[in-house]
Symmetry: C2
Subunit: 247 residues, 2 copies
């Protein structure tokens, strides 16, 4: 068959969920198994969390396409050198994925949690949009694996829930927390001390919970006042359940 | 065996996801199959959406426990008569579930989307908390099945995302929308005209998307400016993707 007669492959964004392999959806498993190429983001020397979560559904015959971050935490995320490196990395990643799609090989790009809810898949997606058929398979986000551990629901009735990246500048973080009934703070890591300051300023410390590695083997739930003093692991979050009032 | 030697059953809150049966997780399917009793909320004369989504995993031998809402939209949700009816209904539902748990029969309570993210399961959970072992199995929320259909991700980089019940009073809805980069408005239904007013007042109409029945057979995605004039179906939402800026 002539190469020009190939149908292009489909770009799949596969949400692998929060980390427990059993929290993958049936649809994620099916599409993952059907794709001849499996792409996944990872730092140097690792396999990436999404790959680990999905590994039992990835066969030997499937081509593995690791997309290796050039940096993770070595350079501050705001500085021009980081932005330049990371944008070029996503350009290169998209080009590698496109190479397979052009030859008619569908690619499953694994995404921790949900593909369109923060994360790296979307940077490949936006670069290839319109050129190839695509399908986003939603996944269970880490925040809901976290809230499943709480003694009360994260949102009820007329609660407004706000999701806040822990990377926000102090003023923005305070403003976002002020307007929320329920709140989720993601990307905690080294931002933990700043998050503590914000919660303390608003009198929210007592209502907040600290969660590490929700749904994974080393999962940990603590009242926020018992959280570590300094940096937290990458897979940590802070949750504040709403009051669940009617308005 | 004497009844007093029974271990109590476990209360499972099973997130069945947004409606596509394939968007159930492997864990939801396993626990659902293992429970001798399957409880589900439904309006009169129906089987409920969560039950429909999960039906292929429910066997004949499993006892079905429908929890039938005494009212749905016949009485305004704010009025005392509604509140009284609905609280008594949750009391009765919890008692029925507890009856099985006391006899050592685990109960799977089906929940559309995620059990702790709005919804009815939590009202049973909060009434039985501490009396029985429990396990919440998180699910894919409808909002992420909706955002999977968009031409761009719902959140990127430093976006703050706010989830707003469409039932909020106008002033509260405006305030919540103002602080958001990305927004999800749930429980749209008959609140659609009020939501349109709020979006128009803030100049957000052009950025917004209207979605009906995400992940179901009759799923529909429209730019918000092409949404129906008046009421929308129960399973509809409005999504505003963030700009994805770094701060």
């Amino acid at each position: 068959m002539n190469a020009s007669t190939y149908e292009p492959g489909t770009l799949y964004g596969i949400g692998t969920g929060p980390g427990d392999p059993e929290l993958m959806t049936l649809k994620a498993v099916r599409h993952l198994r059907d794709c001849p190429v499996v792409a996944y983001f990872t730092k140097r020397g690792g396999n990436g969390n999404a790959f680990r979560t999905a590994s039992e559904h990835i066969g030997r015959e499937q081509e593995k396409l690791p997309l290796v971050y050039p940096v993770t935490t070595e350079i501050p995320h705001g500085c021009p050198q980081y932005l330049d490196l990371i944008e070029r990395f996503f350009d290169d990643s998209a080009a590698e994925v496109a190479g397979h799609l052009e030859c008619g090989r569908s690619v499953a790009v694994l995404s921790e949690g949900d593909p369109f809810f923060y994360g790296s898949f979307m940077h490949v997606f936006l670069r290839l949009q319109g050129r190839f058929p695509s399908c986003v398979v939603p996944g269970v986000p880490a925040m809901l694996a976290g809230s499943a551990l709480l003694p009360r629901p994260i949102t009820m009735r007329d609660d407004v829930m706000t999701v806040i990246p822990g990377t926000l500048p102090d003023g923005d973080m305070l403003a976002a927390l002020k307007g929320a009934d329920a709140a989720v703070i993601m990307k905690v890591g080294r931002n933990l001390p700043r998050i503590r300051q914000a919660l303390r300023a608003l009198g929210l410390e007592e209502r907040a919970w600290y969660i590490e590695r929700a749904s994974m083997a080393a999962e940990k739930l603590l009242p926020f006042i018992e959280a570590p003093e300094d940096a937290a692991p990458y897979f940590s979050m802070v949750l504040i359940p709403g009051h669940g009032e009617r308005r």
